[in-house]
Every structure is written in structure tokens, then in C-alpha cells.
């Protein structure tokens, strides 16, 4: 359980009866059906579910890339998204994308500092200092002048996380960010993410289909059903922070993981039979 300062702009998220229907006047594909849950300020929330359950749709609604058909999303008590209102994408709800979106034609350093510099929030020199500091924390000191094409997958993901965090967002949104990494790199990067999180806890909205990853990272795991996506179960993870890889074999961890797996397995089978694919 993380306790965070009760700042008014802490990034508390409320999802209220959100539904999303694609092509309402035509095929009427129901992606999300009456989703409701809360994420406290500074809480690490992980959404886990089978392919096609609408996790990315929900993330897009929060980030501002898509609308909701009904229901509301509130951020720190203020209305963020509703059928009548689509928020503009912004650095306060910054996204780390699944397949990587570092600008390949700019150096790592430019990629990291571009957010604050473009928004005019930091001077270039200041931003560079911050960038170097953050990059150092994730073990990437000295690569600032390389291009993303020269980096490995794990390095790129870390740079993207740093690029997101330097903007001091209210919510950090991550869309299956470690999906493309091999298992060993994945655990290393996960540890770095947790380290950064422990340093400055932010509200995190993390999507994955990997149950172990979900329980390892989260304060709260939200299990979703396959399409149409509904909240199946909300499970609190009460393992203390900071967490290391040793947690993965602890009794409590395995208990919770079992909980989640049992909940999700039936949905996974249904999704498989329905031939669901990720439309990432």
C-alpha cells in the first residue's frame, strides 16, 4: 500500500460507468461495457485481461485519443472525458506506447528533453540536466548522443519511460510496454520502473496480459473480461514496497497470482475460442 501526499493534483482517476461502442450506427461493436473503478493518487494500478478486452480502448479514453460512448472519466474530481467531451492528449496523462515511439531521427537526449522543452516548461539546459540524471538512474548514462536505432529493446523502453517521467505527469499510462521484450530483459526493466516509481510515486495506469508482471508491479490489479470488456474482479496487492525479484517466489505473491490467474483463465479461453486479436 502506498501512501502519497494528498496533493490536489495527485492524479486520482475515477472511471464511472464507461462504455465504448464502435460504429454505433452500424455494426455496433461493444468494446467496453459499464466499467467502473477508482485509482487513488499515486497508486499503481494494473489492468490485466485477455486479447480484445478493451484495455487499450480504456487507456486511449484516458489519454485523449478516443471518446467514450457513455459514462464519465474524472481526474482529480474534475471531468476529464465524457460523450460530449474528449480531452486533448497532453503531458499530464502521458503515454508509453506498446511498440515504441521514440523518434528514430533524433538522438536519445533530444527524445527525452523534447517534452518539457516543446511545452516551454523547462529551459534546455535544465532539461538536459534532468534527463542525464534520470537516464543515469535507469542505467543508461552516456548514451545520450546515440540514435534509437542503435539501442536494444530494453534500452529503448527505459528511454521511453524516462521521456515520459521527465514531464512530471499526473498519470503515467503504459500500454503493454514490455510485451516485446524477452523475459530476462523484462524483469530488469520492471525493476527499474519500480525504482523510479518508489522515488517519486505517481499514479500509474498499466496494461498487460502477463499475470505475473501485473501482480509484481501493482498495488491494485483489475481483471477484465473478454469482449465486451467488463470488470471481473479487483484484487489488492498488499505486498510491501520496495519489491525485488525475490518477491516473485514469496507465498503471498503466489497466492495473489493464483487468485488472478483463476479469475482470468476462463476469460482467456473464451477469447481464444472467439479468435480475438489485439488490434494494437
Amino acid at each position: 500500500m502506498t501512501a502519497v501526499s494528498a496533493s490536489p493534483k495527485g492524479g486520482a482517476l475515477s472511471i464511472r460507468n464507461v462504455a465504448k461502442i464502435y460504429d454505433p450506427d452500424g455494426a455496433g461493436v461493444v468494446a467496453l461495457d459499464d466499467i467502473s473503478f477508482d485509482v487513488g493518487a499515486g497508486e499503481f494500478c494494473v489492468i490485466v485481461g485477455p486479447s480484445g478486452c478493451g484495455k487499450t480502448t480504456l487507456l486511449n479514453a484516458v489519454a485523449g485519443f478516443d471518446t467514450v460512448t457513455s459514462g464519465e472519466i474524472l481526474l482529480d474530481g474534475a471531468l476529464l472525458s465524457s460523450p460530449a467531451r474528449r480531452p486533448a492528449p497532453g503531458a499530464d496523462r502521458i503515454v508509453v506506447f506498446q511498440n515504441g515511439s521514440l523518434f528514430p531521427w533524433k538522438t536519445v537526449l533530444w527524445n527525452v528533453i523534447c517534452g518539457p522543452v516543446q511545452q516551454g516548461r523547462m529551459t534546455r539546459a535544465n532539461a538536459i540536466r534532468h534527463a542525464r540524471d534520470l537516464l543515469g538512474r535507469v542505467g543508461l548514462a552516456g548514451i545520450e548522443d546515440q540514435y534509437p536505432g542503435e539501442l536494444s529493446g530494453g534500452m529503448k523502453r527505459r528511454v521511453e519511460i524516462v521521456r515520459a517521467l521527465i514531464n512530471e505527469p499526473r498519470i503515467l499510462l503504459l500500454d503493454e510496454p514490455f510485451r516485446a521484450l524477452d523475459a530476462l530483459t523484462k524483469s530488469v526493466v520492471q525493476e527499474y520502473l519500480l525504482e523510479l516509481y518508489d522515488l517519486v510515486p505517481k499514479t500509474v495506469f498499466f496494461i498487460t496480459h502477463d499475470v505475473e508482471e501485473a501482480v509484481f508491479l501493482a498495488d491494485k490489479v483489475i481483471v477484465m473480461t473478454t469482449r465486451p470488456g467488463r470488470v471481473l474482479k479487483i484484487i489488492d496487492v498488499d505486498i510491501a514496497r520496495p519489491r525485488s525479484v525475490h518477491v516473485l517466489t514469496s507465498d503471498r505473491f503466489l497466492q495473489i497470482e493464483n487468485d488472478v490467474r483463476t479469475a482470468i483463465h476462463g476469460e482467456a479461453q473464451k477469447a481464444f475460442e472467439a479468435g480475438e486479436r489485439e488490434f494494437a
Binding site: 460507468n17 462504455a19 457513455s70 464519465e72
Partner: protein, 278 residues
């Protein structure tokens, strides 16, 4: 922080009767693009029509659309015009087909055999930059008839691009396809006919489509310079006798002919490679 939970009413679904759906379809399709297209094309036509009276410099000798339309009506009835069509089309057909028949096998052969590629490709790279138009005098000298020289220039135009695209297509086949075939026990001939050739077809088709466009370019040049019949020649002749409307009509005819032939090639391509999205 407590908030008042208000869920917005879900959007009322419109009735799904056929009439309602048709109206919706029209409203969706009546896109901005069509309006914009109409605006720009009509302003262009108006500008052209009234360019001379408006005093825009340089257009004194340019006939307005009304004159062109009249001229086209006249031309469309003349036998000369349609003969020219036939002759030009025939030259295109010969030149283009020759380019395919020489270019595709050569390209595939070069792609299959590394030694041949390294030997012959440099020669290609030397000859290719020479504009086919510069070959016209050589073609006239070399070939016994004018007709053959014109067809040769058309051939040259399409040939280079077909060759390059074929080699490129064959050379960039995913090596996993090859490996899969070999591990399934195919011999070299099978490999070629069943793997390499089909995988190269999309590139060949692109080469054909672009080559067709270039073929028409070359035809115009060759007919203007060295021909005495055909649409390109008619175009140049119109200029020489100051019948500019004839020029314009010929320009548009050639454009339409080129468009139609390109579309034909694309259609053939879709037929030959149905697994490829157009």
C-alpha cells in the same frame, strides 16, 4: 473526493429502417473532399476560360476551353485522329511487351545468379542514366525502319524500370520463404517457379505500371522527333501549324490513353497476384 455520479444518457440509436440508413449513408459520403474538388476544378476551368480577357500575360496564343471543345468535336470525327490512336497504341504494345519479355527473365536470372548480377549490373548502371531520348538518333541510324526505331525507344523507356524492379523484388524476398521451401524438400526448379516467381510478381507489377507511364512518355518524344504518324506526331504537327487546340486535344488524348493502359496493367497485376492488396 466525492463526486456526483451522473452517467450520461446513452446515445439514442437511430431507427434502422432502409430509408434512414440511406440518408445517413449520403450524409456520410457527401464529404468535404468532393466539394473541394468541385471548387478547385471549376476555378481552374474558369481561370483558363477567362485568362486572355483578364490580361494574364503569356496566354494570348492559348485557346480557351470553348475553342478546345469545338476542336475536339471536329477531331473526334476525323479518321486521321483514330488512325493515330491505333498506331500509337500498337507501338506502345510492342515496345512495352518487348520490355517485359526481355526485362523480366533477365531480371530474374540476374537475381538468381550472383556472378551474373555483379558482371552485368554495372553495365546497366552505365547505360541507364542516358536518357532514352538521347538514344533516338542511334535508334534511327541502327534500325532499318522508323517504326522500329520508335518502338525501340518505347522499349528502352520501360525496360530499365522493369529490370530494376524485378531484380529488386526478387532480391528482397524474405529468406525464410526460401528456407521453408527447402526444408519442405523443394528442388531448385520448384523453388524458382513456386516461391521466387510468385513473390516477385508484386514488384514486377509495380515495374509494369511505372514502365507503362514511361512508355507513353517515350512514345510522345519518339513520335514528335522521328515519327510521321501517331498521337505524338499529331501533337507536334498541331504546334507547327499553330493549331493549338489540336495540341491540347492530343495532350488530353494521350493522357487518357496512358491512364487507361496503366489501369489495365494494374488490373492484370491484381489478377496475377490476388493475395496482394492493391
Amino acid at each position: 473526493m466525492t463526486t456526483i455520479i451522473r452517467s450520461a444518457p446513452s446515445r439514442a440509436r437511430p431507427s434502422s429502417t432502409p430509408v434512414a440508413r440511406t440518408i445517413l449513408w449520403i450524409r456520410k459520403r457527401w464529404k468535404l473532399e468532393w466539394i473541394l474538388a468541385a471548387v478547385s476544378l471549376s476555378s481552374l476551368a474558369l481561370l483558363w476560360e477567362f485568362a486572355a480577357p483578364l490580361g494574364i500575360p503569356g496566354v494570348e496564343n492559348l485557346p480557351p476551353p470553348s475553342a478546345v471543345i469545338r476542336e475536339s468535336a471536329k477531331l473526334l470525327h476525323s479518321e486521321l485522329y483514330w488512325t493515330a490512336w491505333g498506331l500509337s497504341l500498337r507501338r506502345i504494345a510492342y515496345g512495352f511487351l518487348a520490355a517485359q519479355l526481355v526485362g523480366v527473365p533477365l531480371g530474374l536470372g540476374l537475381a538468381m545468379n550472383r556472378v551474373a548480377l555483379d558482371t552485368i549490373f554495372p553495365v546497366v548502371e552505365i547505360l541507364r542514366p542516358i536518357p532514352p531520348v538521347a538514344w533516338i538518333p542511334v535508334a534511327i541510324i541502327f534500325w532499318p525502319t522508323r517504326e522500329l526505331s520508335v518502338v525501340f525507344i518505347v522499349f528502352l523507356g520501360a525496360f530499365w524500370i522493369v529490370l530494376i524492379n524485378t531484380i529488386g523484388g526478387a532480391a528482397t524476398i524474405d529468406p525464410n520463404y526460401r528456407r521453408a521451401a527447402e526444408s519442405l524438400g523443394s528442388n531448385r526448379r520448384d523453388l524458382f517457379w513456386r516461391i521466387i516467381l510468385p513473390a516477385t510478381i508484386p514488384s514486377i507489377v509495380i515495374g509494369m505500371a511505372v514502365g507503362m507511364g514511361l512508355a507513353w512518355e517515350m512514345l510522345v518524344a519518339a513520335e514528335m522527333v522521328a515519327g510521321n504518324t501517331g498521337l505524338g506526331y499529331l501533337l507536334w504537327q498541331g504546334f507547327e501549324v499553330n493549331a493549338i487546340s489540336q495540341c491540347i486535344v492530343c495532350m488530353m488524348s494521350i493522357g487518357i490513353a496512358g491512364l487507361l493502359s496503366s489501369q489495365l496493367v494494374r488490373l492484370l497485376g491484381r489478377f496475377a497476384a490476388p493475395w496482394q492488396r492493391p
